[in-house]
């Protein structure tokens, strides 16, 4: 695996999708408005909750806003790079066109997960950072350089985790070919990460903290930015992320063996 080469391939994917997207320039404004509207409604939701209280699972209004910003940013990345590829893999498996991808001189897992990018979804990433900034402003909290550094470390771990979980779900399409789109299973799970993990109780909390680490994905970056980080948590996040990535990779390989078995 040669990083530079993959960087170049990714840039090519980006360029190809960008050109494709430019054909639909006129939709840009509508998409922009839709993203803005989405963020506005999410803010209104938080506002309605805090109309009745000033603490949600131990988090203040400003802190929940930072969390919402992180959530929106991460979802922007999902919609940008991962979501557009899910139905296409199902299509490839169903029609057998995956064979063409397997013969290409790039890693197949890399190819199926990043070939199609929806460029304008990056608006949500920008808006997410806007919400983070607003939350910090409301809470009158200025992060230190160390906080920001930690934030970038743990959010990288979050992105890896998201990618791995998404990839595992996507890989199941080798067996579940009857459904057009599995992404809403991920969405259902990811939706739990919108709020503080301390809000949940009992079994639900156990599952989304340890088994499917939704809480880890959004809460740790938000906490890092708010200065509530520890080296240990950051390390744990990275270890968990790489562990999930390894499992996802193994699962993909396993699925490919299954696929060739069925095809041949």
């Amino acid at each position: 695996m040669n990083m530079r080469r993959y960087g170049r391939v990714f840039r090519e994917f980006f360029r190809a999708c960008f050109v494709e997207e430019m054909e639909y320039r006129s939709e840009f404004f509508g998409n922009f408005a839709a993203s803005f509207f989405g963020v506005g409604m999410a803010l209104l939701t938080v506002h309605i909750f805090f109309y009745q209280t000033d603490d949600l699972g131990g988090w203040t209004y400003a802190e929940v806003l930072v969390l919402l910003g992180v959530f929106n940013t991460l979802r922007g990345f999902i919609d940008f790079a991962l979501r557009p590829n899910m139905p296409r893999l199902l299509e490839h498996v169903r029609r057998g066109t995956l064979d063409y991808i397997l013969t290409k001189p790039v890693d197949s897992m890399f190819y199926v997960s990043f070939r199609h990018l929806v460029f304008w979804r990056l608006i949500d990433v920008v808006l997410g950072f806007g919400v983070i900034g607003y939350g910090l402003y409301v809470g009158r909290y200025v992060p230190s350089a160390a906080d920001v550094l930690m934030f970038f470390v743990v959010i990288t771990a979050s992105l890896l985790l998201i990618y791995s979980l998404w990839m595992m779900l996507m890989t199941t399409s080798f067996w579940v070919v009857r459904i057009d789109d599995l992404s809403f299973i991920f969405d259902s799970f990811f939706e739990t990460a919108r709020f503080p993990g301390s809000m949940y109780h009992g079994a639900v909390r156990m599952v989304i903290t340890y088994i499917l680490p939704a809480v880890l994905i959004t809460n740790t970056p938000a906490l890092a930015l708010l200065g509530k980080w520890s080296i240990l948590t950051a390390l744990a996040a990275l270890v968990v992320a790489f562990l999930f990535l390894w499992v996802a990779r193994r699962f993909w390989r396993f699925a490919l063996r299954f696929y060739t078995g069925a095809g041949g």
């Binding site: 509207f37 989405g38 409604m41 309605i48 109309y51 209280t53 949600l56 057009d180 739990t192 809000m199």
Partner: protein, 257 residues
């Protein structure tokens, strides 16, 4: 007409069976948002956990029973031109949609009622306290809510004759309805201005109103008033649908010819 409907229902039933798995998965996808919202409210007012449990399980039930997907179907059919096939058949296309709604909602009912009953055995908070006539009013309100949502969704779908992005338009309406129909919060938890809006707009009558009847939050006076407003919206939306239909047919022929 009844015989035609029986035939339609049978066809839609067979269609549904072919997509069993998708239907099932689709259903489970609709329950997470209310459950998460329920957790939020249980955190804010822990002393009322039991009533929130009942409320949000009822939201899942009523939301499924009144859900409408016709806008996406129409959007696709009109854009791809397959809608013309339906037009050629000797029955108004809306009957196909109605039959489909009945079949799927029947399925939801058959799944959800036993699940709820089983839940009620373990959690006493889930047991409804309704007398005979309230049950009747509750069911009537659910049917009315389903009709309102269907009309709104179908009318939006017909806009596809003019604009290409009706799904996005409906998406905006749906998000607004999240707040005003009681899915984000029981309406009494909303700030007063939003609450007042919810009284007069149709969204409350799609989800919250039947639940208010079931929990006993709505007294006799509010019940009558609610049904009156909902019936008013039913008339308005039916008129809008008919008007859009006629205008759409002209437009459609103009493009075709």
């Amino acid at each position: 007409m009844i015989r035609k409907y029986i035939a339609l229902l049978r066809m839609k039933y067979i269609e549904m069976l072919a997509y069993r798995l998708a239907t099932f998965v689709w259903m489970t996808g609709a329950i997470t948002q209310p459950l998460i919202t329920m957790f939020v409210w249980m955190n804010i007012h822990p002393e009322e956990s039991e009533s929130f449990l009942f409320y949000f399980i009822a939201v899942i039930f009523v939301e499924r029973m009144t859900s409408a997907w016709d806008v996406w179907e129409l959007d696709r059919e009109i854009r791809e031109g397959t809608f013309s096939n339906l037009l050629l058949r000797p029955l108004h296309p809306i009957h196909w949609a109605i039959a489909e709604n009945i079949v799927y909602k029947w399925l939801f009912l058959v799944i959800l009622v036993p699940v709820w009953s089983a839940g009620a055995v373990f959690w006493p908070a889930l047991r409804p306290h309704m007398t005979g006539s309230r049950i009747g009013w509750f069911l009537a309100a659910v049917v009315l809510g389903a009709a309102l949502r269907f009309l709104l969704s179908y009318s939006c779908g017909l806009l596809a004759f003019w604009v290409t992005k009706v799904a996005a338009v409906y998406g905006v309406i749906d998000v607004i309805s999240l707040f005003l129909s009681g899915r984000i919060a029981p309406l009494e938890m909303l700030p007063p201005q939003l609450r007042e809006w919810s009284e007069w707009l149709p969204f409350r009558y799609m989800i919250s109103f039947p639940i208010e009847i079931a929990t006993g939050a709505a007294n006799r006076g509010e019940l009558v008033r609610g049904f009156a407003i909902a019936a008013g919206w039913l008339l308005v939306l039916s008129a809008v649908l008919q008007w859009l239909w006629r205008a759409g047919m002209k437009k459609n022929q103009a493009v075709g010819g």
